[in-house]
């Protein structure tokens, strides 16, 4: 009883400490992004310079509050971020929070499918590789993992587009749904902006099929990138677990190797994978920016590339800041899961 209380209190201490660490981290990132982007000078000038008259630029600068002292701007921006207000884009004055909801749903949908692909491909293959260490399957799978890492996502996307969209015509090469389907499924009552849910709500099976045919290529592209990481992780962790004393003890008791892997080692080898998933969130989001651009998938990354192209640095700042907040929160959540699953994390 006493041990149970102390372990739950150590969990609580860990979680509180971890949560308190999120705040300075987000603050540092927000501050860094703000000042680094302000070094470039006036965002109005870079967005409209050459297209608007100096007088018009001055008006816009005033209305955006960019003529105030830098520190005042910084504090009001920080205040906005705390309230969840990341400002408006300069070029089409869309609130960044709107982009986060509408395009964020698209990114969420993409990363969900990608993670699904990554887990179903990476985890079993990692197990196979570890089981046959240094034999042919291991060699092949390790090369596959290196390739999955080395091939840039947008190049893999390009290859898949060439083969499965242009040549074979099985899947669509861009967008999230065909135009007519897009119109239909955005009319459902609670619009989640997650197309697969919307399509199911709308209740037309061919629409669901259409959405899925748009999803396959981007999801596989982004998923394979992460699958390689999972494969390597599972392999290395399983190898280390298979060397541990308790596994050796199981072998000594005469447990067959297949059962040793399945019953004794595999689950324990998965625990570190959960921890590392927290670190993968960042690379998954960076990969999402490139994948969305490749497939014109209208997520946050696509929007970011769009505003980068139009040199709308207020929008870029908003999206990047929001990404920083999201990444910090997700990695916090994953650390919570890891702490609950693995008592060793709580130190």
């Amino acid at each position: 009883m006493a041990t149970a209380t102390s372990s739950s209190s150590s969990l609580r201490t860990y979680l509180v400490t971890r949560l308190l660490l999120v705040i300075p981290m987000v603050w540092i990132l927000v501050t860094l992004v703000f000042f680094v982007l302000r070094v470039v000078g006036d965002p109005i000038q870079s967005a409209f310079g050459g297209r608007l008259s100096p007088a018009e630029i001055a008006v816009r600068r005033h209305s955006a509050g960019l003529d105030k002292p830098l520190l005042t701007q910084y504090l009001s921006y920080l205040g906005g971020v705390v309230r969840g207000d990341f400002g408006r884009s300069l070029t089409d004055s869309t609130p960044i929070s709107h982009i986060l909801i509408v395009n964020g749903a698209a990114t969420l949908e993409l990363t969900f499918w990608a993670l699904l692909v990554a887990l179903t491909v990476g985890v079993p293959l990692g197990r196979v590789a570890a089981r046959h260490r240094d034999k042919l399957p291991d060699v092949g799978l390790r090369l596959f993992a290196v390739l999955a890492y080395a091939v840039p996502v947008f190049f893999l996307g390009l290859l898949l587009k060439l083969l499965f969209a242009t040549k074979l015509g099985w899947f669509y090469s861009s967008g999230r749904a065909s135009p007519n389907v897009d119109l239909d499924i955005n009319n459902v009552a609670p619009n989640t902006h997650i197309y697969i849910i919307n399509a199911i709500q709308y209740g037309n099976l061919s629409d669901v099929w259409d959405v899925l045919r748009h999803t396959v290529l981007p999801a596989v592209t982004l998923g394979l990138l992460v699958a390689g990481v999972f494969l390597r992780l599972v392999r290395v962790n399983l190898l280390q677990t298979l060397r541990s004393d308790y596994v050796e003890a199981a072998r000594a008791r005469g447990v067959p190797e297949r059962r040793v892997v399945r019953k004794h080692a595999f689950r324990n080898a998965l625990i570190p994978v959960v921890t590392v998933m927290g670190l993968q969130v960042a690379s998954l989001l960076a990969g999402a920016v490139l994948t969305e651009t490749t497939f014109e998938w209208q997520g946050i990354g696509y929007k970011l590339a769009y505003y980068l192209g139009r040199q709308d640095y207020v929008a870029v700042q908003g999206i990047v800041t929001a990404t920083a907040v999201i990444v910090s929160l997700i990695s916090f959540l994953i650390d919570v899961v890891a702490a609950v699953v693995d008592p060793r994390v709580r130190y």
């Binding site: 300075p24 540092i28 840039p152 490749t294």
Partner: protein, 340 residues
Amino acid sequence: MSINLPELEGAEAAAALPAGRRHSRIPGVDAIRATSGFQRGMLVAGALIVLFFTVVAVFASAIAPYGFNDDRTKGGKVFGRLVAPSAQHWMGTTSGGEDVYSRVVFGAQTAMEVIVLAVLFSVVVGVPLGLLSGYLGGWLDRVLVLVTDALFAFPSLLLAIIVSIAIAGGSSSAAGGILSAAISITVVYVPQYFRVVRNATVAAREEPYVEAARTLGAKPVAIMTRYIFSNVVQTVPVIATLNAGDAILTLAGLGFLGYGIEPSAGAEWGHDLAKAISDTSNGIWWTGVYPGVAIALLVVGVTLVGESLNDVLNPLLRTAKVTPVTLPARRPSETAGEAA
């Protein structure tokens, strides 16, 4: 991506070498000797790929038939747009009418230059920072750890974009050269060196040999540079190799999004791939496939070298290399003695 390397003692690394052979003076030979079978194959294959790209990069202007931005021969004959691969243009031409083969060759030069500079910069910044932070401790250490942790958690590509916007001064045409691309990428990798060196320094700070140096009156700078430095930088080469692979991808990602190298400053594979995406719907493959294969191949090469080095130097992953032992044939008298 996080790289977690356990500390490695020099003796342990030496123990990985087959007994009876001395250290070689040629760099890398020791590492190759420590490997066997598949691992050695990986290391050699990776090294050959990297060597190949280095040669291409160094002699780019001799290898490429045309300049990276040329759309006509010196005689003024225009190449034509999106011409399929032929004897004239081995890899076809782009939508801008440039020779793909020449752009891929010059792309190797760009990539190599940026990567070497970026890795060099991040080591030069990260290692001393880590030493200082770890040795001095205090508020400087806490602040630096917090800042680098924040940077580390952030998507690296976005970080590089932000920095390259700042360097370019808001207008993407101002500074799109090799140097600015290298600096944008440097920022991404500094935290890794910082972390590794800082943690190793914190551990080494209390070691008896450092204590002894301090007692003898060595100044902090001397302790850091002469005593601690060589003991905490052993993992840096492996990290640098693995980072180089990652940096190539970051550079290509930047180029793909329209940042990094300006089209007029040099050929860049990521930029060419961005242009090639729209060609795919017409079934045109040569504008994208060649630069893409170049990126993938170079990253594979660098990664194979880094991975094998890691495997060799990391005792947790190392498979014991068993040298077959041939016992001398037993003499009958010994056998008799044992029986008795």
